[in-house]
Symmetry: C2
Subunit: 363 residues, 2 copies
């Protein structure tokens, strides 16, 4: 089964295209920078470098900003349960949900910093990773600071002073619920990072790990949006389900791009011998490419560009590139199905836009 | 100036000796174990091993429990502002403060796990450290989980369900304030861990780093105890001041023991060429031992047992061992001075006991 445009078009076109991400960045970044500014100097320097705001000496730079998928999901979920909808030009969509958008972005970047440091990855957003630039310890400690900061930002929403410090924000009764949701999510995320390092994973494990590594934080993002947008328990549960399925779709897309994507990402998972979803699926199906994958992954010598190109071609010939697309689409449809009947149809536009962008993106 | 018994006895004898630590362990451990039991399996295994509860295969073991200094400080501070005082036999001193005692112990162990992993330290509580047993990544990730869990445990105190799940606990209005206090503390702690790795520290830096590495969490512990014990803002501020001074005293004692302590710890800071407080003080004072320290710390070859013994003797001959005791006593007295007039005299017994135990301990 191959991915066809017909399949993709089952998901209605978004109302505003990728504007949901740009808007989320615009709305979230000032609050994110304010939170980071509260950190002590050594840590702040590493964090600002990691976000691409400053070079290693602390001078402003204009790096490539991150996608802001998680903040977008928080804000769009908050709107979907009755927050104030705004046009792309507005910069204050659902003020109550902004701290949650900041918190999930902080947790996401905590996990990026720790992943890079533990795996020795060299590049992040077209610059040397923080662990390469400042050393493993500094990157780990900066990640620690971001994790604590995420909870601090959520706690600030419950604090009387929050309303004064951030005009538009109000003391929110769901702050403790939000912190517990985030706490449980970090436990899942970390467990996924630990399990990912095991070699003996089967395809079921692999999907469970993908849920923990990627799905749990998207589930939490959508759930926090629902919570801070004032949703009912049923709506929050529906949004969490949406986020969880979206997470699996996002992981399948990432895994596809890290074998068959553009020049920046292509073959990267094969070079690192990562047991991504299509790789484990190929091994489990005992398809013709399985033997070649097993051989390449079992060897200890560095894989050459020729090796990885051949592997990618063999996996594609066996249909694993298409499998990624098909499976991703299936989870995107499952994500949208979660919204019925809790989220009114007229509020699903931007959630659909996010789902479509997650499936269609090419980097 | 040397440390004399006369000096020490300026601090009145404790009412109950080291019972404050034993009681804190007894009261805190069940809640700590319950919190850790909520973690997913891979992470929980590493954490339980780190705490000395299980061997690396998950079988029960009876390791040496930690000192529980931080939980003791939380509970004693809570009592000092009017919590329910209880005898040593009781196991439910100040129930409202127990989650805070668990949270600070979790944060302390997060920092131990990350320190061991980043420094490659081999032993912890008479067993191989978690980073040696399970690998650096697993230890870092387990630390991450403990950090998130600490905030989760605090958030649970604000949650209506907390009162049901933990009989005796009640939903606490200070939960968000507590989370913010802990968030700021972790930022300090991490900054201290980062700065400690710099080579160019002066004595002032060294005391500031000691405050961040050790003082900040003791300040937070005493402050959280005051908060959950229902103290006034002035009482909470007094307790925080007590904890901060106690932290410097504790660091000076640790630094003394890690050069001149018993067989387990003696010379350990010299072997690792750690720029601890007495070492930096000796270098700053340009005392006769300074040249030998500079030489030994500047060399790249591993220091032999003879080298470290000679260095320890040279530093002691210059008075730096006594300096640690004198300075520690000074900070202990400053700690007790903080309690005047906020904490009534009859409630200071156990705070004095902790201060005395921190200064007098020999391991």
């Amino acid at each position: 089964m191959t991915v066809t445009l017909g399949n993709r078009s089952a998901i209605p076109a978004p109302r505003r295209g990728s504007g949901v991400f740009e808007r989320a960045r615009t709305v979230t970044e000032p609050a994110l920078r304010a939170a980071v500014d509260s950190l002590p100097p050594s840590t702040r320097r590493v964090v600002g470098y990691h976000f691409g705001w400053w070079d290693s000496k602390g001078n402003d730079r204009h790096g490539t900003p991150g996608k802001a998928l998680r903040p977008a999901l928080v804000l769009v979920a908050a709107e979907a349960v009755g927050g104030t909808p705004v046009g792309m030009a507005a910069v204050s969509a659902v003020p109550a949900a902004i701290p949650a958008a900041v918190a999930v972005e902080l947790v996401h970047n905590f996990s990026l910093l720790h992943d890079d440091a533990l795996d020795g990855d060299g590049m992040r957003r077209s610059q040397r990773s923080a662990s390469i630039e400042f050393g493993t310890s500094a990157a780990i400690l900066a990640g620690d600071a971001l994790l604590a900061l995420a909870f601090d930002v959520l706690a600030a929403t419950a604090h009387p002073a929050a309303a004064t410090a951030h005009p538009g924000a109000t003391a929110h009764p769901g702050a403790a619920t939000a912190a517990r949701m985030l706490g449980a999510t970090v436990a899942q995320l970390v467990e996924g990072q630990a399990d990912e390092r095991r070699a003996d994973v089967h395809l079921d494990d692999c999907f469970r790990i993908a849920h923990r590594r990627t799905g749990a934080l998207l589930e939490c993002s959508a759930g926090l949006g629902g919570l801070f947008g004032g949703g009912t328990p049923a709506q929050i549960a529906a949004l969490r389900g949406f986020g969880a399925e979206l997470g699996l779709a996002a992981q399948l897309t990432d895994d596809r791009l890290r074998i068959w994507g553009g020049a920046e990402t292509a073959h990267s998972d094969l070079r690192r011998r990562r047991r991504s979803l299509p790789v484990v699926a190929a091994l489990a199906a005992d398809s013709p490419s399985a033997e070649r994958v097993a051989e390449a992954y079992g060897a200890t010598a560095k894989l050459s560009d020729v090796d990885t190109s051949e592997l990618a071609a063999a996996l594609e010939a066996d249909g694993w590139r298409d499998w990624c697309g098909t499976e991703s689409d299936r989870h995107l449809r499952a994500a949208l199905d979660q919204l019925d009947p809790g989220i009114p149809a007229e509020w699903r536009h931007d959630l659909r836009a996010i789902a479509r962008l997650v499936g269609d993106r090419d980097r």
